[in-house]
Symmetry: C2
Subunit: 450 residues, 2 copies
């Protein structure tokens, strides 16, 4: 599918009306194609990393006044010649400019093709390339930090370290095979055993980090459940209000994306809209067996169970909630309306006044603690990608096989096979071992223009 001889073009900025729209070209003809439609300085003669004002011409018609950014390969995102045309942000004009680039020899870029070229040209490894997509999709500080750690090669470095040590032992063991008649051991078995243990522990640590990584990357869905008039809407607003202040000045449309999400210590909590439940199954708690309520709760990672402390005691709620137990749903019992009556303290409940925004911060922290144990250390590597997890799990199996082989003193050639399998799965993560189909699949999940 990938043809390095083609020069590709795509809109790199989000579609819609804005002040500026950027059209990106990459490939050996990127500069020549732009020169054909750009009236200004001759770009081929200009140094890399410079900006040039001029006009995009469709024959004699001035399509737009633009600024062109010039990057000469290999000092560019893709490693190839790259031109970015900064035009006025009219969808019409941007489409016309793209059509003009295509008419002059460029091909429409496929999703992720710019980053795929960066990978194929050795500017990024596969784990870093995937971090680019994660970075663009990041909606919280923790997700952004984890992606940035990976983009900067933190994860790759860790894998590279394991890989290099394994390769060294692999070479020694394979050497033994050549001298198999002589029964020599070039590879120190106790050193190797220690290495295998160390790699196994690192893999275990990385695999374990996925639980948090998944929370960081995909956020946590929260269903707020409760009887009518328990104060669900008021709580929703109380939780969201604090959040809004920071971003309220920035562009109107952020509201839509922020609308029902909550950022607690850098982790994104998505509040599932339970309006439907609120309106139609008004007796949600009593009719807990109703499929609909159960479905919503099943979709949620966390359930916040809101009740009126003036109507119900924690013990009553606890007994109702017992239906949940064993369903793997994490939940918080939250007693509301403490402004109207002082509730007896209970270890099982958090007491709030949604109306007076009392103990909201305490509730936020409790929500956070429900999914994150300890602090998030984004300095270390956190696995956020299911593909990486699968490869690591396979690699971990090979490590166990190697270890069992050493314990049982099996033949070196069988151990060598296990090591190769282990290296294969490590290489799969960074893309040293991969197939074209797999690459196309991975990059097809990117957005166009990246």
């Amino acid at each position: 599918m990938y043809n390095i001889n083609e020069t590709i073009v795509a809109l790199a900025t989000p579609p819609g009306v804005g002040a500026i729209g950027i059209i990106r070209l990459s490939g050996s003809e990127a500069i020549a194609i732009t020169d054909k439609i750009f009236k200004g300085k001759n770009l081929a003669n200009q140094p890399s990393h410079t900006l040039h004002f001029g006009r995009i011409m469709d024959g004699n018609t001035v399509l737009d006044e633009v600024v062109v950014s010039l990057y000469k390969g290999p000092k560019s995102y893709t490693g190839e010649d790259v031109v970015e045309i900064s035009a006025h942000g009219s969808q019409y004009i941007l489409e016309q400019v793209i059509a003009l680039c295509i008419a002059n020899g460029a091909q429409m870029a496929k999703a992720g093709e710019f980053t795929q070229r960066a990978f194929l040209n050795g500017k990024l490894d596969l784990a870093q390339a995937e971090a680019v997509a994660d970075l663009i999709a990041s909606q919280s500080g923790a997700a952004q930090q984890a992606a940035m750690h990976n983009l900067r090669g933190g994860f790759s470095e860790e894998l590279k370290g394991m890989r290099e040590e394994l390769v060294k032992f692999s070479a020694l063991i394979e050497l033994e095979l050549d001298f198999s008649q002589e029964d020599v051991e070039f590879a120190d078995r106790s050193q190797f055993y220690e290495l295998v243990n160390r790699i196994g522990a690192t893999a275990d640590k990385l695999i374990a980090s996925f639980k948090l990584g998944n929370v960081i990357r995909n956020g946590v869905s929260v269903a707020i459940i409760g009887k009518p008039n328990a104060g669900k809407s008021t709580l929703l607003n109380a939780l969201l209000n604090e959040e809004r202040a920071i971003v309220s000045d920035i562009a109107g449309t952020t509201r839509d994306t922020i609308e029902e999400t909550l950022n607690i210590n850098g982790v994104l909590f998505r509040l599932i809209d339970t309006a439907g439940i609120r309106e139609h199954s008004s007796d949600a708690i009593e009719t807990i067996g109703i499929q609909r309520s159960m479905d919503t709760m099943k979709k949620a990672d966390v359930v916040v169970y809101l009740y009126d402390v003036n109507e119900t005691t924690p013990d009553e709620i606890q007994s109702q909630v017992s239906t949940f137990e064993g369903r793997q749903i994490k939940y918080l019992l939250v007693g509301n309306k403490i402004d109207m009556a002082a509730a007896a303290p209970s270890a099982n409940s958090i007491y709030i006044s949604a109306k007076n925004k009392e103990n909201i911060q305490q509730l936020r922290q409790a929500l956070y603690r429900l999914v994150v144990e300890g602090d998030i250390n984004t300095e270390g590597t956190i696995i956020t990608n299911a593909r990486h997890l699968a490869s690591l799990q396979e690699m971990r199996k090979s490590i166990s096989d190697i270890k069992a082989g050493l314990d049982n003193h099996i033949a070196s050639d069988l151990i060598a096979l296990d090591i190769r399998r282990c290296l294969f799965y490590l290489g799969e993560i960074t893309g040293e071992v991969t197939t074209e189909d797999k690459l196309d699949y991975i990059f097809s999940k990117f957005c166009i223009g990246k």
Copy 2:
């Protein structure tokens, strides 16, 4: 409201997820503020019009890897120092970078403030600045061309020519006032009369162009009306289908904006969704008096009246349509399903087969001719802005007053007053005469970041 000492910041690209998002800063501190958060080369020491790769740092945290575009004033869009930060297109990251700029001394830009600064710094006159907003909003070739003509100063040049000649005569006539005792005429009255006629004719031409200009800028709304099974949906698809092919390759989201619009010779026709009418008032023609159908038709600039040639003759339709006459609604009678029966030719109708896409091109041209007489010459100036029209109309009144004054040999001082009034309205268009309130109002209609 405007404070030239502030450095402003805003997102310049559309909100939403994309490969790239651009944050723009402008003002005396734009480079210094960026240097505080940018880890890479020291920007203050770099030449203008250069690109620099580096990292945006929030303390010790790497927020993103970015490319910074550096424009040193006055060689920039606003005429001030401008920095554009090209970051990964995550809404979260873009908000964080903007917040960081604000924390380091930038102010959130108001809508249109970048272009307002360009105007105040003399980079654009007011008519050109307004053309920037029109260019961004342009959805068709004619709208884009008219806006580009104005952005490049075509309109302003025309006004400037008139203004300069008027100023010359104004000076001579005001000189006469100083010598009013001596009854001299420095200003040649016949030359002046000729000039006034010429300016009047130019103003008339510009005012007349608004009819077309409005069509070009705002498009033409078209209601397709007809009995059920007349073939309205098929016609809609036939009209749209030809359109789609060109843009179908470019980004998924264009579909939404293109969905119900039709570009004929560069003019945008918006097809009003008459689905509601189609479903609920199935006897639209018979019950033509029904408020709902009438409302839809009143909203439309043009009505396409579709009927089945096998069921109705043009004469019958004509008599039904007579209810329309005098309502100022332009309409086309379109006989459909000629594939099923040959219809007798009629001067009043266009015959098509929506199913076989027969004569669709003829219908498109007829629609176009209904709103555009002759060809659109976007080389000449076309008034597209209601504010400009209002000023031109006032200016035209002053010209008539001057002419009447000359005819009646009224005193020079009164003529001088009329000339000043005429110059005032000319100056209002290009912004040479304006108030701060008016400016704020004009630019507030821009998008943020422009």
